[in-house]
Symmetry: C2
Subunit: 193 residues, 2 copies
C-alpha cells in the first residue's frame, strides 16, 4: 500500500460545539501512528443547501468508501447504547469489508447501565424492561452485534472509564484503537476496500 | 432469480417473550407477498454453547449474507432512537449492497421525542442536550444516516402511529415495507448480493 492508510473517524462528537477541534485532535493522533484521519466534518455542507441531511449522508458514505479502516466511538449516547449514526457506520464499514476498531468511554456493562435506569425487573432467568423486552446479559459493553463484530476481528471493544464531563472528549480509548490498528495493518493483508 | 427472494427480518422483537410468534407472523406476511422471511431466531443457539453471543452474531451475519434484501424495524427502543443491533444490521445490509426497507411504529420526529425528554435547551440556532450535543432538526424519524439511507434508495422510512402497548407488535408498517419491496424487486435489476 502506498501512502498512509486512511481511517474513517466515526463518533457522536460531530454534535459537540467543539467538534472541529476534536476532529483536529483525532487527526493529529492519527498522524502520530502513521495514518490519515477522515473526519465527517471534513466534508462540510453549506446550510443553504437543499436536503442538507441527505448531502451529509452522501458525503459520509463517500468518506467511508475512501477509507481503509474505521475507528468508532461507541460511548453511550442519550441512553444506554451507542449513537445510532455511529453504529450504522460500523455496520456499513463491516459490510464493505473494512477492518473496524471501537472504544467506549464508559467502562460498565450494558446490563448494569440498563439496571440503573430502574425500569428493569427479574423474570425467571432474564431481566426485562418496561416493554417486557429482555436485556442482554453477556457482559458486553453494548448490544452483542456491536461487541461481537469487534471481538470477531480479534480486537474487542476498548473500554475506558472517563472522568465526569469527559465522556466525549477523552481520547485514551481512541489512541488504544490506533495502536491496535497499527499492529494489525502492518501484519495482515489488505481486505477488500 | 429463481425461487422467492429472501428477506432478512431485523428488529428488536427478538427480545420479546413472544419473539417466536412474531417471527412466524412476519414470515407468513412475507409469503403473502411472494418472499421468504429469514428471522434471527431461525438460527437458535443452545444455551450450553460457549460464547453464545458470538455464535448468535455469526448466525445473524450468515442469514444476512444469504438474504436478498432486508426490512428493519426501527421503532425507538429504550430511548429516543432505534435498537442499535437493528441499526448495525441496516448498515451491514447496505454495505453488502442489499436493498433495505424500514419502518417505525412511532410517527413523531426524533427532535420532538428528544425535546420531550426535558433535557434539551435552545442555544442560538440549535437545540442541545445535557452534554451540549446538538439535536438533529431535519424532520427525520431518527439520525440522518438512518433516514437518508432509506430515502436515498427511493423509499423513505415508513412511520406508523401504533396504539399504546402495540409498538412492538403492530405490523402495518412492516406490511407497507413488503409492498414497497414487492414493487421494487420486480422492476429493478438485482444488486450485488
Amino acid at each position: 500500500m502506498t501512502g498512509s492508510s486512511k481511517i474513517y473517524l466515526a463518533g457522536p462528537e460531530v454534535f459537540l460545539p467543539d467538534a472541529i477541534a476534536i476532529g483536529a485532535r483525532k487527526k493529529e493522533l492519527c498522524r502520530k501512528y502513521g495514518f490519515t484521519g477522515l473526519f465527517p466534518f471534513d466534508n462540510e455542507v453549506g446550510p443553504e443547501a437543499d436536503r442538507v441531511d441527505r448531502l451529509i449522508f452522501r458525503a459520509n458514505v463517500e468518506l467511508i468508501e475512501q477509507s481503509d479502516l474505521g475507528i468508532c466511538n461507541l460511548t453511550p449516547f442519550r441512553g444506554v447504547s451507542a449513537d445510532v449514526g455511529t453504529v450504522f457506520e460500523l455496520g456499513l464499514l463491516t459490510g464493505l469489508g473494512k477492518p473496524t476498531f471501537g472504544y467506549s468511554n464508559v467502562a460498565d456493562d450494558l446490563l448494569n447501565r440498563t439496571l440503573r435506569t430502574g425500569d428493569v425487573v427479574r423474570d425467571g432467568d432474564v431481566w426485562r424492561d418496561r416493554d417486557r423486552m429482555s436485556v442482554e446479559d453477556f457482559g458486553n459493553a453494548d448490544n452483542l452485534m456491536i461487541d461481537a463484530c469487534l471481538a470477531s476481528q480479534g480486537h474487542p471493544i476498548v473500554r475506558v472509564a472517563a472522568g465526569a464531563g469527559e465522556q466525549f472528549h477523552d481520547l485514551r480509548g481512541f489512541e488504544t484503537c490506533l495502536q491496535q490498528a497499527r499492529n494489525e495493518i502492518d501484519i495482515r493483508p489488505r481486505r477488500r476496500a
